[in-house]
């Protein structure tokens, strides 16, 4: 650890580090600013999802039966598979950051590509799930179809389901685009032990997206499965 610090400092104090922007004094300051900024951004994301989570929790308490019924119609296999895929992609992302920290460009690229593939798999499964819902009429709105006695409240569940997973998927797509850019930069050898902040920042974002899913999965797929 101390070794790495010394290393970073050695570069940081060089007057013209190629990646040092003019308004920062040191690489250290620049990196701290980026990390801090990224975390503040994630803080806004927590509150962003917090609002809709509250809506979910409230209606789940009010219309538990409807939520349990609708939740049982979701495909647990696909949801579970996606959970494994996404947590797996977090692992590969963590390895990508680790490779960047140790200065292995090829490792970084490899792990980043793997992360992107896993992200794409997740989205592919999501497409399958969504299209199934369109087929059976589980999309809320005028064409909603349900024979359950709680059809009206099931619409609330599905509205939240689509909004939450949809927003999550948008975050994934954005994440994959960023990953693609970062991968290209890594392939061009722009990162090394002393400068790999973009990889770390992307990692934070990706883990956050994973984290949202960690809540979405039990809340949406596992309301009540025992009967």
């Amino acid at each position: 650890m101390s070794n790495a610090v010394a290393h970073a400092d050695a570069h940081g104090h060089a007057v013209h580090h190629p990646q040092l922007q003019h308004h920062f004094d040191t690489m250290q300051q620049q990196k701290e600013a980026s990390t801090f900024g990224m975390w503040l951004f994630l803080l806004t994301e927590v509150l962003f999802f917090g609002g809709i989570f509250f809506a979910y929790l409230l209606y789940r308490m009010w219309y538990f039966d409807a939520f349990a019924e609708a939740s049982r119609d979701l495909d647990l296999m696909l949801g579970g598979f996606n959970t494994v895929v996404l947590i797996g992609s977090s692992l590969t992302m963590a390895f990508a950051v680790r490779s960047a920290q140790t200065g292995s460009s090829s490792g970084t690229v490899r792990w980043l590509i793997l992360t992107m593939i896993l992200g794409a798999v997740f989205l592919g499964v999501k497409v399958v799930e969504y299209s199934h819902k369109f087929e059976v009429g589980h999309v809320p709105g005028p064409n909603f179809h349900s024979t359950s006695p709680w059809a009206a409240q099931e619409q609330i569940f599905y509205s939240l389901y689509f909004t939450m997973t949809g927003l999550h998927a948008v975050h994934m797509i954005v994440g994959i685009v960023i990953l693609a850019i970062i991968t290209r930069m890594a392939a061009q050898g722009k990162f090394n032990e002393s400068y790999h902040t973009p990889v770390e920042m992307t990692g934070l974002y990706w883990h956050f997206v994973d984290l949202v899913w960690i809540y979405l999965f039990p809340l949406l797929y596992l309301v009540e499965r025992h009967n």
Binding site: T44, E45, L47
Partner: protein, 541 residues
């Protein structure tokens, strides 16, 4: 003597010419100037809608516009003024321009994100303009469901998206400020040496970062209801419209502090400078900004006392609402105490500061009527509320913003404006403002509901007073446009520190160079140090 001053040879305004040098700039000062122009246009647009509203209300019958047109006018007045003028106003213009030099930095922490926030703001505004030119919107700026989701037949979606998008601009600005204030301060500039303007912007940024995402998700939920027929707040499917109000006000109440707290920061600078004296109770004023920011988040349901919320939670929210009154009162008392044994002069910015204090005082005190449950039931959604929040948002936030513009205009452009014009403007705004909005308190207690196109005859006299005042107010706002524009080419050179102020931003030339400082600024031992020497230099050189 002043005639001998010349503008410096190199500064940020002549560091490159042409559209590209502006649109691709990373200089926080140029971005601030572009924000200034953008929000000034939005302010004029919002003012146009306000003029329409006031014209209509001169007669009780509602005979000038159709009801639908009137509803669009007040809605777009609210949307433009709140989301496209007030929220960006002081932070995006003055904060953007001044925070880096005030803390001795070359730029904000993320210059590209700063530019991005401006583009996002423009994109949001473009959505709004699209909605405007394709027929407008009539939901009220609050977008209450189910009206906005299922009843209104106007362009709710583009406006909602415009607000959603511009919210990101606000988040990015706040995020940038927080990181900048934490990480970019000049060596030796500790937290308790920071100008109170910076403290206020720190508090504001916290609100922007914490609150805006919640309104963003709320807008998304309305969007999916309206666009796809989803049902989240839809009472027909068991949804609760009151939940929308909770989520909306979780942001929109603190949003009031996004507007007013930066103006409070401006006030501290003005009052200190024109009394040549440090702010009385510096740390109390600094922490009161943070207290307002934090308490602002726990009081939102006082907008909902008659909305069908539980009376027990109304009780709690009423109690908490008074907690915001205390730090606000502390600020006013401290400013007043600052005047004691000062060396007070009444340059135009100080006139604005005095006006601000008077209006903010009225705005703050009338908030008590709305935090108190017994009176709020009667006053809720009447003109009393309209008057109250205009005292805070126009009398407070805009007065502070324009006062700040007058104070830092010499720094931003290097030139002085017509002091006579500025004095006239300050007085007209103060008089016109009171004439416009004071009658509305009485109207409100008389029971006149807000958002009324036509109204019973007995309210007419007070409404005519209000409309007449709005005319005066309009002239008061128009004047600065004239003399400030004139000063851009004809104004006398201001010199680095025309007011004898103490902040680091006055240590550099006016207008500053792109990197703000040609030599590192000297951080004083104490905040707001005035020595006879500095003052003499300012007045005589």
């Amino acid at each position: 003597m002043l005639d001998t001053l010349k503008l410096p040879e190199h500064h940020y305004l002549n560091d490159g010419y042409g559209l590209k040098s502006w649109l691709l700039t990373k200089d926080h000062k140029r971005i601030a100037m572009m924000y200034l122009i953008s929000i000034s246009i939005m302010f004029a647009l919002g003012g146009f809608f306000a003029a329409g509203v006031r014209l209509e209300l001169m007669t009780p019958q509602g005979d000038l516009f159709l009801a639908d047109t009137y509803n669009k006018f007040f809605t777009m007045h609210g949307v433009v003024m709140v989301f496209f003028f007030l929220i960006p106003s002081t932070p995006a213009v003055l904060g953007n321009f001044l925070i880096p030099p005030m803390i001795g930095a070359k730029d904000l922490a993320f210059p590209r994100i700063n530019l991005l926030s401006l583009y996002i703001f423009w994109l949001g505004a473009a959505f709004f303009f699209y909605a405007l030119f394709s027929g407008g919107v009539d939901t009220g700026w609050t977008f209450y469901t189910p009206f906005s989701s299922f009843s209104s037949n106007t362009n709710v979606i583009p406006v909602a998206l415009g607000v959603f998008i511009s919210g990101f601009s606000s988040i990015l600005t706040g995020l940038n400020f927080i990181v900048t204030i934490h990480r970019m301060r000049a060596p030796g500039l500790t937290w308790f040496k920071l100008p109170l303007f910076v403290w206020a912007h720190y508090a504001t940024s916290l609100i922007q970062v914490l609150g805006t995402p919640v309104v963003a998700i709320t807008i998304i939920m309305v969007f999916v209801e309206r666009a796809f027929g989803f049902g989240i707040f839809d009472p027909v499917r068991g949804g609760d419209p009151v939940l929308f109000q909770h989520l909306f006000w979780f942001y929109s109440h603190p949003a009031v502090y996004i507007m007013i707290v930066p103006a409070l920061g401006v006030m501290s600078e003005l009052i200190s400078t024109f009394t040549r004296k440090t702010i009385f109770g510096y740390s109390f004023v600094a922490f009161s900004s943070l207290a307002i920011a934090v308490f602002g988040f726990i009081v939102w349901a006082h907008h909902m006392f008659v909305a069908g919320i539980s009376p027990y939670s109304a009780l709690v929210f009423s109690f908490l609402s008074f907690s915001v009154a205390i730090p606000s009162a502390v600020k006013v008392f401290n400013w007043t105490a600052t005047l004691w044994k000062g060396s007070i002069s009444f340059e135009p910015p100080m006139l604005y500061a005095y006006g601000f204090m008077g209006l903010f005082l009225v705005g703050g005190l009338t908030g008590l009527f709305l935090a108190t449950l017994g009176t709020d039931i009667h006053l809720h959604d009447t003109y009393f509320v309209v008057a109250h929040f205009h005292y805070i948002m126009v009398g407070g936030a805009i007065m502070g913003y324009i006062g700040g513009i007058h104070f830092w205009w010499p720094k931003m452009t290097g030139r002085m404006y017509s002091e006579f014009g500025a004095r006239m403007s300050a007085i007209l705004v103060f008089v016109g403002f009171n004439l416009t909005f004071f009658p509305q308190f009485i109207l409100g207690y008389m029971g006149m509901p807000r958002r009324y196109h036509a109204y019973p005859d007995e309210f007419q006299v007070l409404n005519i007073m209000s409309s007449a005042g709005a005319g005066v107010l309009g002239i008061g706002y128009l004047l600065p446009v004239i003399y400030l524009t004139y000063s851009l080419t004809r104004g006398k050179a201001a010199g680095p520190n025309p007011w004898g102020a103490s902040g680091l931003e006055w240590q550099t030339q006016s207008p500053p160079v792109t990197a703000n400082f040609t030599e590192p600024p000297v951080v004083p031992a104490e905040p707001y140090e005035y020595t006879p020497h500095v003052a003499r230099e300012a007045n005589l050189v």
